[in-house]
């Protein structure tokens, strides 16, 4: 079943037109990865799907429902969870308060115990203020926080940016485990090596449009093309 479907999506920041007709779909339980250079509109795509960027046209359907008219504070209730690139950890809240903040929207989320098991750093620092965590710890917290809510589909924006290799590995394991549990994930990545381990399917984004789309098996065949576009 197609869980998320986007057709002809355009979006603007003020006057500047960023997305020029994005098309993509995600099957239930699938992990897709959007690749692309800096500034091509990956983050914008996620923000527009989430409804944070509201100057948009086109169609977004999630679990069969038209999302274009849904107000921002209702999107999460439909089952979409968003982890922003800048992480968005709250300074005035303790780590634990940060973790507990997003309302649970559906059953099936992880318990706090499971989360602490996954990210022991967080357990250790749970009563310190959120932004006193290091960059990597903050990234873990941002992910952990959404895992609790029972969202059906996660939108992850560069979860490995600025992280130590060992943590990246950990996050990769988490993503694989999530996939095994049936979670649907839309991943935005620049770290190609990482993405190739966790994703089922790839989209390549360039100047506000999806220019290519292929499953992980076809990766080797697409390498030359990726090389030329991404410069990996």
């Amino acid at each position: 079943m197609t869980l998320l479907e986007v057709n002809g999506l355009h979006a603007w920041y003020g006057e500047s037109h960023i997305l020029h007709g994005v098309d993509l779909f995600v099957e239930e339980g699938e992990t897709i990865c959007i690749l692309g250079r800096n500034g091509m509109g990956k983050t914008t795509t996620l923000r527009t799907i989430m409804g944070i960027l509201r100057k948009r046209t086109g169609a977004i359907r999630f679990a069969g429902k038209d999302m274009m008219g849904v107000p921002l504070h209702r999107t999460a209730r439909e089952g979409l969870g968003f982890v922003p690139e800048e992480r968005g950890i709250f300074a005035t809240l303790s780590v634990e308060e940060n973790l507990m903040l997003p309302p649970v929207v559906a059953k099936g989320g992880m318990s706090v115990g499971e989360i602490y098991e996954l990210f022991p750093n967080l357990k250790e620092r749970r009563s310190s203020p959120g932004t006193k965590l290091s960059g990597g710890e903050q990234q873990m917290l941002a992910m952990a926080r959404i895992l609790r809510t029972g969202a059906r589909c996660l939108l992850l924006d560069e979860p490995t940016e600025g992280l130590a290799p060992v943590i990246i590995q950990r996050i990769g394991e988490v993503l694989i485990e999530l996939r095994d549990r049936g979670m649907t994930v839309v991943l935005v990545e620049q770290n190609f090596r990482f993405a190739s381990k966790v994703a089922d399917r790839f989209y390549l984004m360039d100047h506000g449009q999806m220019v290519a789309d292929f499953p992980v098996e076809e990766l080797p065949a697409n390498m030359p093309m990726l090389n030329s576009v991404l410069g990996v």
Binding site: K132, G136, G162, P165, Q169
Partner: protein, 257 residues
């Protein structure tokens, strides 16, 4: 500490027993560090190990709880951050730090103004600054920003902002350069270019940098210090450090970088 080469260049920046507590939490503890002239020194470690904090301590943006810092033979443990900068140690920031509404040229000139003693002249016209243009333009050229000379920094892409920040830092011609994740968020070709630049400037300067991109570290750094939980875990050249099993478990993971 084992010498890395036979004839060790002089130490320009050193810390002894450096420590910082935040409330009850010890972010940095007992760190000894020597940064050498004409050397690139990498500071790596897991997230939250205290790398940025060490930077903040060295540049005096944070006051150390313990320890002593010496810059070019002077004790700077109690010196204000702007003074430290004037003594010849300049840093960049983990989150890019430019003056967004100034043009690229103006950004670089702001850095040049102070050494040129053109900073407090409230009675002179702006055109007095034109004599700094030559030097600024050379720097901008070197870093490939010439097409953007009159672009406002805010309008640059993320990667270019980082490049601009490095240009501004270099403009001060510092003795010691502290770079906090200079390559973060840069595209591959920019990484190569910036790595090249850093290598170039380090010919006659000391560089201390935090970097997660281990390819770069392996490529250009002479010395590597690994930090974990605020303490030094290992120290040496990249080959030594990267084979250290403790470093592999704590930081690099099992696979190759």
């Amino acid at each position: 500490m084992a010498p890395v080469t036979d004839h060790e260049p002089r130490v320009v920046l050193s810390a002894r027993g450096l420590g910082k507590d935040f409330g009850g939490f010890t972010a940095v503890n007992n760190v000894d560090l020597d940064v050498h002239h004409a050397r690139i020194h990498a500071l790596i470690g897991p997230n939250g190990a205290g790398k940025t904090t060490v930077f903040n301590l060295l540049t005096k943006f944070l006051q150390p709880t313990r320890g002593k810092i010496t810059l070019l033979g002077t004790d700077i443990t109690r010196t204000r951050p702007d003074k430290v900068a004037r003594m010849g140690m300049v840093r960049s920031f983990q989150i890019s730090a430019v003056f967004p509404h100034l043009t690229v040229l103006e950004n670089v000139r702001v850095a040049l103004q102070r050494p040129a003693e053109l900073a407090v002249q409230f009675w002179q016209p702006l055109s007095a600054l034109d004599r700094l243009n030559g030097r600024a333009e050379v720097l901008i050229e070197e870093l490939g920003l010439t097409p953007y000379l009159n672009t406002r920094a805010a309008d640059l892409s993320y990667g270019r902002k980082r490049v601009l920040e490095i240009a501004t830092t270099l403009a001060l011609d510092p003795e010691v350069l502290l770079l906090d994740e200079p390559m973060a968020g840069m595209g591959q070709e920019d990484v190569q270019m910036v790595a090249g630049i850093i290598r170039e400037v380090a010919r006659h300067r000391a560089v201390l940098m935090v970097e997660h991109n281990l390819n770069v570290v392996a490529d250009i750094c002479h010395q590597v210090t690994v930090l974990q939980r605020g303490e030094i875990l290992a120290h040496g050249d990249y080959a030594t450090v990267s084979t250290d099993p403790r470093v592999r478990t704590a930081y690099m993971g099992t696979e190759d970088a």
